[in-house]
């Protein structure tokens, strides 16, 4: 097996043996169970005349609640990615674990890429698995399915990969705690900067709007989250948003347009740059 795949396998094996995967599966099943129960309640809610809500209204409420639930999932994924990636290299350098391994014919770039790959596989599996379970539960509870489930998984998964890449890059130089905290704060600041950008859009103020644009370029998590929101919005809701004009764009939990292709191309380039930076940083570090 090529060294990159050995390191990737080792990374997956470690998270599994440390029971992180088991903990995430149990927590996800609990959340899915509770949310299924909650979503089911929407279908039993009655209006002032004692009648249950019409299907369209159920779909609309469900779609909005599903966006909030997905925000929680993306938060769990981002948090897990940052916390796990933060010490990925630094802890093994500090403990001396990498010393005997790097004395083998193993390149430092192979360590970096292997670790990234191992966690990327876990993130992709978690994004796909949790989305499938949650959407199946919502479908069972309300009969509603979002319009673009595959894109949803891709956007949420990519958001986790961004945090993984940032955490890994920081891990080549900083201690695990410091790297993890920086990655988390960056993620939150990116989201808030996105909200600020929305306010700029609502106010038609280019300078404030640019805060969001720049933050999306520096850390594409919020830009990808917007893609996830778009994937969850039913056509009827999108039509309402578009009719409302710029005011509708000032909502951090609503998205009128999908992320532009140029942004997605930048995300791909961002991954390449961040991995390149991680490799360079680790190769030039004394261990």
């Amino acid at each position: 097996m090529p060294p990159i795949l050995v390191i990737a396998r080792l990374t997956i094996q470690e998270t599994s043996r440390r029971r992180l995967i088991l903990a995430l599966i149990i927590l996800t099943l609990i959340v899915v169970g509770f949310s299924a129960w909650g979503f089911n309640k929407i279908t039993t809610v009655t209006n002032s005349e004692g009648a249950t809500l019409p299907a369209q209204q159920v779909a609309l409420i469900t779609s909005q609640l599903l966006i909030v639930v997905t925000f929680m999932y993306s938060g769990v994924l981002a948090l897990s990615a940052a916390v796990v990636a933060g010490p990925l290299i630094s802890s093994e350098v500090e403990s001396g674990l990498l010393l005997s391994m790097l004395a083998r014919p193993l390149r430092r770039s192979e360590v970096v890429i292997g670790k990234w790959l191992g966690l990327a596989v876990l993130i992709a599996m978690y994004a796909a698995g949790s989305a499938t379970l949650e959407l199946a539960a919502v479908d069972w509870a309300t009969g509603y399915l979002p319009p673009h489930p595959v894109q949803l998984v891709l956007y949420v998964g990519a958001e986790g990969l961004v945090l993984l890449s940032l955490g890994l890059a920081l891990s080549t130089r900083l201690s695990g705690i410091t790297g993890g905290v920086i990655a988390l704060v960056a993620w939150l600041m990116g989201w808030i900067a996105g909200v600020v950008g929305d306010v700029g859009t609502g106010l038609q103020n280019q300078a404030i709007e640019n805060v969001g644009v720049v933050s999306h370029l520096l850390l594409p998590t919020d830009g990808l989250w917007r893609g996830a929101i778009y994937a969850l919005e039913p056509d009827a809701f999108l039509a309402t948003l578009r009719a409302a004009g710029t005011v509708a764009r000032a909502n951090p939990f609503a998205q009128v347009d999908p992320p532009p292709i140029s942004f997605l191309a930048w995300v791909v380039l961002w991954f390449a740059l961040m991995l390149g930076l991680s490799i360079w940083s680790f190769r030039t570090r004394e261990i």
């Binding site: 097996m1 060294p3 050995v6 080792l10 094996q13 470690e14 043996r17 440390r18 403990s95 001396g96 674990l97 010393l99 005997s100 391994m101 790097l102 004395a103 083998r104 014919p105 193993l106 390149r107 004394e286 261990i287």
Partner: protein, 277 residues
């Protein structure tokens, strides 16, 4: 400085002298700011050369969530050794370091000494041509230290060069063919044990010598003056009667004369003192 194949080479020095740094430089774990070196005929940093090298780091740590066998299998895979040889290699390495009965246990349950034994087993995989052992007995009990000495002798007998970093000078003295003493990143002495330990130290218990008289004894070589006790750190045995006669002639009363062969520790301290001056 050259370490030939099949030789056990001791690398000595005080804390912070640069011993571990030297090993890391040779293994390509650190990049030199200047100078050059080669391992097994190839410049340092060459990836293929590392296939033929074993290394036990001073800071030894292995995946606690793997079993001893799994850790060694990982090293077989990274080495890389043919998969068909893994079982034999792992069984032999575990047997050599005395961990056969703990092969399936998680490393997290191992004591520090057992982890060091595991590190030694990893360094022995694939019959390397050169083995770096950085303080290989720091966590071991006397039995473990004896075992490591036997392992080092075994490696040397089959033609493997051993580069041994150690603070335990008696250990180095017992197993090394040659040694080098390093201080502040510079080799201050090197040679075979015989070359390095020439001469005898002579301890004399004496009274009645004033400072001027003690000064006149400088012709008998370096003197370690501790009041009643004078130690001549490098004196040939045949000069001992002359020394006693000189002390008596200077008015001194001799109570005890104890010649003893210089140990590596004596020589080591002597070299470091000379370096400080």
């Amino acid at each position: 400085m050259t370490v030939p194949r099949g030789e056990v080479f001791g690398f000595l020095g005080p804390n912070g002298a640069g011993k571990t740094t030297s090993v890391k430089l040779l293994l390509g774990l650190l990049k030199p700011t200047s100078g050059e070196a080669s391992l097994l005929g190839r410049p340092i940093g060459d990836l293929n050369t590392r296939r033929r090298i074993g290394y036990l780091p001073e800071l030894f740590r292995y995946q606690g969530w793997l079993s001893a066998t799994e850790v060694l299998a990982l090293h077989c895979e990274l080495a890389p050794l043919p998969r068909s040889s893994w079982n034999d290699e792992i069984a032999s390495a575990l047997d050599t370091v005395g961990l056969t009965d703990r092969a399936k246990d998680r490393v997290s349950t191992f004591s520090k000494g057992m982890q060091q034994r595991l590190g030694l087993a990893a360094a022995l995989l694939g019959e390397p041509e050169l083995v770096f052992l950085d303080e290989p007995t720091s966590a071991l009990d006397p039995v473990g230290r004896h075992d490591v000495r036997e392992i080092i002798r075994g490696l040397a007998s089959r033609g493997t060069a051993v580069f041994l970093n150690s603070h335990l000078l008696s250990e180095v003295e017992q197993v090394c063919d040659r040694v080098a003493v390093v201080d502040h990143g510079r080799v201050i002495a090197s040679g075979t044990m015989d070359e390095l330990l020439s001469g005898t130290a002579v301890k004399v218990r004496v009274e009645g010598l004033d400072p001027a008289a003690r000064g006149k004894l400088s012709s008998f070589g370096d003197l370690d003056d501790e009041g009643d006790q004078l130690t001549f750190t490098k004196l040939k045995p045949e000069r001992v009667p002359d020394l006693v006669a000189a002390i008596v002639a200077l008015g001194g009363r001799v109570y005890e004369v104890a010649p003893r062969h210089q140990t590596l520790e004596d020589r080591f301290l002597q070299l470091l003192e000379a370096e400080e001056k």
